[in-house]
Symmetry: C2
Amino acid sequence: MSVTPASQPRRTYRHGDLREALLDAGIEMAREGGPDAVVLREATRRAGVSPNAAYRHFADREALLHAVSDACLGFAADRIEQSVAEVPEGDPVDTARALLRAVGTGYIAFAREEPGLFRTAFSVPDNLQRAAEPAKAGRNGRTPFQLVGFALDALVDAGVLPRERRENAEFLAWATVHGLGMLVIDGPLRGLDDRMIDYATARLLDMVDRGL
Amino acid sequence: MSVTPASQPRRTYRHGDLREALLDAGIEMAREGGPDAVVLREATRRAGVSPNAAYRHFADREALLHAVSDACLGFAADRIEQSVAEVPEGDPVDTARALLRAVGTGYIAFAREEPGLFRTAFSVPDNLQRAAEPAKAGRNGRTPFQLVGFALDALVDAGVLPRERRENAEFLAWATVHGLGMLVIDGPLRGLDDRMIDYATARLLDMVDRGL
DNA sequence: CCCTGATGTGTACACTGTCCACAACCCTAC
DNA sequence: GTAGGGTTGTGGACAGTGTACACATCAGGG
């Protein structure tokens, strides 16, 4: 997505949108090797620029990584929305249930399809206040955290989830699915075949469904 | 734990137990700064030895990190056993339930008390085959994975958990608690006060209890 | 007692993040 | 239109890292 292709050297002195180019390079490196693989010098190299140029756009490597991490959360949101979009209309109760499941399966799907981005998304310390900031949102402007919230709201509206259990239920749903994602990517559940993971995901979501 | 204190130079040519000293140094660094903080040269420095000496005991930095990670899993097991030990004897059903809860609270407690070690424990790709190997065990010779398994077995024996749901239930229980641990340490739940975390933990364990 | 394999040392290289002084450029105000 | 002036990128340098290679030193068995 860089303005100037890395192949031939830039003619103008100004790059155009170096920040974006560095970010894109960072994302690509994260995709291939996770957070540790996003290295500042390599990003500038890919952007066809000298190492120090990066410091005009990011305070340090940490800042670049943070930006990449936010972008990864956005990709996660996109993947979740994709799963959510596949939920058929129908009985409100069934739909609400299916919605939360879709969020979960989308989350796990993202972890499996893009382990590098998934790991990068959560490699950087974060907190609740920042969980909804726009930089972490996907194309539709919603962050993963917000998507979980919407699914839970739908469950309350459909009368499935008692209202008094709604508060902070994001934590439970998210933690559950997040844990599975981590264990599948590089925890002890690594290397399980796809069928096994699908099965585990389904059972996990059953548990959430029953236990929330 | 090092054989020769780092303060005064070693007199003998041989270190004595350099492998152990490097491992201890690595653990200490992991405790302070997580996986990225365990750096090979610093470990040799703390052991009072030249950088390359490490290569007689570890193939590369990755190997050292792996050993440190295994040790961290052992510490987690210790912390879990501590929580388990506090479960009072009594009605078999209540005891079995409390046992699984204790595993969960111990796990979260470890994450909160030793975030660096916790992150390090899961920083290294792993798989099921290796989940029970002795290097990952605590003082009592049991790994965290095995401890979860025992608690689940107890639930089956007490008639709480239907036998047909026992298989692979480790994944569910573990993923749930692991996810909360991750989110609390450097995910969006970071910075929540202790009461809030206790509350979330309790609700999460309620969910597991109901939904398993 | 010597010699051989194990263990630690020294030197060296490529690579990283980051600091500093400087250069090239675009924009704005006169 | 031209003279600044702030922004953006360059060059050179330094400390710190992982790791390869050749060498030094020792402990213990023949």
